[in-house]
Subunit: 134 residues, 3 copies
C-alpha cells in the first residue's frame, strides 16, 4: 500500500458527488493515508455554514429517480461522514483562495469543518500522491 | 514509465464518460499498467446486465449534437472495449458495496464484466498509483 | 514534494471546469512540476481556434447565477492562464487522436496553444504521477 497523501479536489457541489467524496476520504483515512481536501467552485459553496445542510441537488444525469434514491439511502449526511474521517486524524479540509474571492466570502462564512484557506501552490506543495478531481 | 496500479473510480454513467474511461483503461493496460476499476453510483447502474447495452445519454453539456456525434463515431460499445482490455490481463472491475446497497441489487444483477463487489477500504488497499475519478 | 509529472485529462469543455483546470495546471507548473494536458471530447471542442474565446457555458449544477459569477470574476480567460503556464516551461498540451477523429478535425483547426496530437498510449507513457480527470 502506498503511503502517499491522497489529494481530493472537490469542484462539484451536488450531494451525490459530495457523498462519494466523503466515502473515498473516509476509506483512505481508514487505510492510514493522509488526506487533503481542497474546496473549489460549487463544492466550496456547499460548505458555507448556512448552506451545508440544505439540499444541493444531484448530478444532472441522475434525474428525479436518482435524487430520490440518494435522499432515501443516506443514513447520514456527507458532512458527518467527513467529520468522522477528520476524527480518524490526517484529514485536512482547505478552501481555495481564488474560489473564496469569486464568491466574495471569508473563512467565517464557512462551516467549521473547513480548516483554513489556502492557495493553489500550497495545495500542490502537499500533493505527493494521487489527485482526485470530483 | 511508472509501474503503479491505475485506479479508475467510475461515478458517471453516461456513454461519453464511460467511453472515455474504457479508452483510458485500455491505454493503461496496453502500456503494461495494472488497472482497477471501481464502480459507484450512476456508473454502477449502467453496468446492470439488463441495461449495459441501452442508451445511457451523454453529459449535459454535450447537447443533442454531441449525443449524435458520440453515437455515430462509436465503432464499438464501451463494454466491448473494456472486455478487450480485460483480455490483455491486469484489469479488474469491482462494484462498490455501498452503491450496490443504494440500488438494492446483488452481483447477479450485474453484467459478467464485473468481477466482484468490494468495499472502499479494499479499493484503497490496492490504490498505489493515480486515482482517476470519472 | 513529488517530482512526478502531473497529467490532466480535460474531458469537460465548460468554462468553469476549464478555469479550474488552468489554475491547477499553473499551480503545478509554479511548484516545478511537469504538466501534461490531454484534451478529449468536449474539452477538445473548446480548444478549436474559432471557438476558444466563445462562451462555453458552465456546469449544469451552476445555474444562471453561477454562470454570471464565473463571467464576472474572470480577470483573464483560461486560455491566457494556460499560455502563462506554458511560459513557465514544462507544460505540454496534447489533443487526443481518437477525439480528433470523432470531431473530424485536424491540428490546423486547433488553437496554437495545442502542441500536437497523440494517442492514449503516448499519454500513459508519460503519466508517471497523478492523473486528474476534469
Amino acid at each position: 500500500m502506498s503511503e502517499d497523501t491522497v489529494s481530493l479536489v472537490l469542484f462539484s457541489g451536488t450531494d451525490d458527488k459530495l457523498e462519494a467524496a466523503a466515502v473515498l476520504a473516509t476509506g483512505a483515512a481508514v487505510m492510514g493515508r493522509k488526506v487533503n481536501v481542497f474546496l473549489q467552485y460549487w463544492a466550496l459553496d456547499s460548505f458555507r455554514a448556512d448552506r451545508i445542510h440544505k439540499d444541493h441537488g444531484v448530478s444532472a444525469e441522475a434525474g428525479p429517480e436518482g435524487a430520490e434514491l440518494v435522499a432515501r439511502q443516506a443514513t447520514q449526511h456527507w458532512s458527518e461522514t467527513l467529520a468522522q474521517a477528520k476524527e480518524l486524524g490526517g484529514v485536512g479540509i482547505h478552501a481555495c483562495a481564488l474560489s473564496m474571492e469569486m464568491f466574495g466570502i471569508t473563512k467565517d462564512d464557512l462551516d467549521p469543518l473547513v480548516d483554513d484557506v489556502e492557495g493553489v501552490a500550497a495545495f500542490w506543495a502537499e500533493a505527493d500522491g494521487p489527485v482526485v478531481f470530483i
